[in-house]
Structure formats: structure tokens, C-alpha cells
């Protein structure tokens, strides 16, 4: 099937673990925030690191935690990896991020068209809601929908480069649930470990 046809059907079948591992392979000193559920497991499976901030709840927080972090650390790049359901809960947050115009914030939505943690119920993206178009309409500097591994590899190779503003990439992944790879649920520990990585002391 041609890439255009795949895109039209929104029927990407990319393996999410491989997508995340590819994106993070050459991340260097990018800071990472992950949305609750599978994106947190996917990032942990790619390798636990002090500069990962994993969310286990607070659905809708991921991209906005990324915004606060990007504003506090303007010389570092910040990557948010989250799911379609998590981002759908914070559609307004895309407008807030677009208005804030951080040049060091990228949001990757792993879009499987389903709520994977709760029994694979169809999400709005499975019914045609297009998060990349919404982000573009809000004013993101760049948006794209990726359906092929070659596109993910090209994004991984270029993502650390300069940007004119926030970017959002939807990556169509298959709706399966690889074995859970679980980081610590102790949010204070993960917070202080992350801050120590930046040279910040706990109170």
C-alpha cells in the first residue's frame, strides 16, 4: 500500500516499542516527559534514565509539563511522548502551547486510535479526529503524521535540530499492548532524580 493511502486510512501499523526506541536512540541530552500508560512503559523499555520524567496519572498533563520544563530550560530540548487519549484530554493545552511558542518543545503522539489501558475502546482519533491538524490550526511551527518506519528514522535524525516553535508529530502505531515495562511509581523519587540530573538540589 502506498504511504498516501496508508495516511488516508490512518491505518499505520508501526510497532510502538520500536518507534520509541528509534526516537530515543540519538536523543543525546534531550529531556523526556512521558504520558501515562503505554508511552511511559515504551520509554522505560527503551532504557531507564535520570532525565526521563514518567507520568502515571494526571491525564492530560504530559505536554504541559513539557511546556513548563521547556520554559525553565530554554537551552535544552524537551521531548514529550504521549498517547492519543492522553493528548485528547488536553486539546486546549495545544492552544496554550502554540501561544507560548517554545522553540525547544516537541510533542510526539503515539496514535493507536484506542484507549489501551482500559480495554482498547476506540478513541476520537479512530473516528477521524486529526491531532496534527488541530495543532497546525492552533499555530504549531510544524506538524506531521508519520505512518512508516523510514519517516520515524528521518524524524529521529533531525529532531534535535533547531525549530521555530513547538512541533507536534502524530505517529500511527498498532493497537497492541507489549509487555509492561514499569518505571518506579514513586513520583518524588523520579522528580528529584530528574532535578539532580540538571544539577538542582531537593529542598
Amino acid at each position: 500500500m502506498e504511504m498516501g493511502e496508508l495516511r488516508a486510512k490512518g491505518a499505520g501499523r508501526l510497532p510502538r516499542r520500536e518507534v520509541v526506541a528509534t526516537l530515543l536512540k540519538s536523543r543525546d541530552d534531550m529531556l523526556l516527559v512521558t504520558g501515562l500508560g503505554s508511552p511511559t512503559y515504551d520509554a522505560h523499555a527503551a532504557g531507564d534514565r535520570d532525565d526521563n520524567y514518567y507520568l502515571w496519572g494526571a491525564m492530560g498533563a504530559a505536554a504541559l509539563v513539557g511546556l513548563g520544563l521547556a520554559q525553565a530550560q530554554p537551552t535544552k530540548r524537551v521531548l514529550v511522548i504521549t498517547g492519543d487519549g492522553e493528548q485528547l484530554m488536553a486539546l486546549g493545552g495545544l492552544a496554550t502551547i502554540a501561544v507560548a511558542k517554545p522553540r525547544n518543545l516537541d510533542i510526539v503522539v503515539l496514535d493507536n486510535h484506542h484507549y489501551g489501558e482500559t480495554g482498547m475502546q476506540a478513541s476520537h482519533t479512530g473516528h477521524g479526529v486529526d491531532l496534527a491538524k488541530i495543532a497546525a490550526a492552533c499555530g504549531f511551527a510544524a506538524t506531521a503524521t508519520l505512518v512508516a518506519m523510514a519517516e520515524v528514522e528521518a524524524l529521529a535524525a533531525s529532531i534535535a535540530g533547531p525549530a521555530h516553535g513547538p512541533r507536534l508529530f502524530v505517529i500511527k502505531v498498532s493497537a497492541d499492548s507489549p509487555p509492561r515495562s514499569m518505571p518506579s511509581r514513586d513520583a518524588v523519587y523520579i522528580k528529584n532524580r530528574f532535578r539532580a540530573h540538571l544539577g538542582l538540589r531537593p529542598n
Partner: protein, 186 residues
């Protein structure tokens, strides 16, 4: 807002001398406390403080579509080493409840300044339910509530709240009484 816009707003503010002095005093104490980010959903009671912070070239400001976004931004700011303040009206507190899990479970410092509606000479009955629910809802999720109904008391209260938040990792909401804000003019 870019630096030129901030400068224009700063000029306009320095020429306007009317209004109560507490917003300026809160602005100064937030600066002394090292606040570098501010997020807000507009409220008439917060107008002066919002404008002061918007005009400050050392403060990054975010206008929000809904109040809970600010809880997540404050967490990210602290992760990156910056202190922040979140401004809203009491009607926005209900929007924040689940998102406050993030601040509470991770013990992120959180300073919310909440202007009250629905409690003193309120004109709009639609403000009453959330006015009544603000304090119990915050306490139910685990946020410490402080409140002030007089301007003098307000400054000390915000100063203490900032210390509790940023030095003791607490999640604090300061409720600014509607009596202090005065009756809304229609």
C-alpha cells in the same frame, strides 16, 4: 508577549496610579520569592497583578484555556528549576482537582492565588455553587488552603504561602476573599 510589548505594558502601568495597592505588593513579594513563571485564566480581581507579571521581562507567562493546565506547567517549571505562580478565579478550582494529583503525589511546590466569587455581595447566582465548593474541594484532594479578607493580612498570607510552597514543598491555595475584592460593577 515579546519584550517590546512587555515594555509598552510596563510604561502604561507606571502611569496608572489608581486601584488598591495589594496587587503591586503581591507582585513585589513574588519577585522576592524568585517566581519566574506565571500562568493564569483571567479574572477581574487579578487584573493588576496579571499585568505586572506580564510586563516583567524576567517572568514567562502563559494564558491558559482551562485552569488545570497551569498545575501541569507549574510541575514542569519546578522540574526545570523554576518557581511559578498560578492565578485563577474560584470557578476554576473545580477544573483542577484531578490534575492536582500530580502536585500532591510528586510533592511539587504549588502556589495558587484564587480570587473568590460567590460569597460576598455576589450578583450572579451561577457563581454560588463553586464559591461554596472551593475550599472543601481543595482540602479534599489535599491542597492546604489559606485565606485573607483584608489587604494587610493578604500580603503576609501570600508571603507565608510562598515560603510553604517553595521551601517546604507544599501545595497551597490562597483564597482572596470577595469582600476584599469589592463588589463587581455591572
Amino acid at each position: 508577549m515579546d519584550l517590546a510589548d512587555k515594555a509598552k505594558l510596563g510604561d502604561a502601568l507606571s502611569k496608572s496610579g489608581s486601584g488598591p495597592s495589594w496587587p503591586v505588593e503581591i507582585y513585589r513579594l513574588l519577585k522576592r520569592a524568585g517566581v519566574r513563571q506565571m500562568a493564569y485564566v483571567p479574572d477581574a480581581g487579578h487584573t493588576e497583578l496579571i499585568n505586572r507579571l506580564l510586563a516583567d521581562p524576567d517572568v514567562v507567562s502563559n494564558v491558559l484555556t482551562t485552569e488545570e493546565e497551569g498545575i501541569a506547567i507549574a510541575a514542569g517549571a519546578w522540574l526545570g528549576g523554576q518557581r511559578s505562580v498560578l492565578l485563577m478565579q474560584s470557578s476554576g478550582v473545580g477544573n483542577c482537582i484531578n490534575m492536582l494529583s500530580l502536585s500532591i503525589v510528586a510533592r511539587f511546590p504549588l502556589l495558587m492565588l484564587v480570587t473568590m466569587r460567590g460569597e460576598w455581595a455576589e450578583f450572579n447566582p451561577w457563581q454560588m455553587p463553586m464559591g461554596r465548593g472551593t475550599e472543601p474541594a481543595l482540602e479534599a484532594i489535599g491542597v492546604r488552603v489559606m485565606r485573607a479578607d483584608k489587604a494587610d493580612d493578604l500580603i503576609e498570607t501570600v508571603e507565608a504561602a510562598a515560603a510553604l510552597a517553595f521551601e517546604a514543598d507544599q501545595q497551597i491555595a490562597v483564597l482572596i476573599g470577595q469582600r476584599l475584592l469589592g463588589k463587581k460593577k455591572w
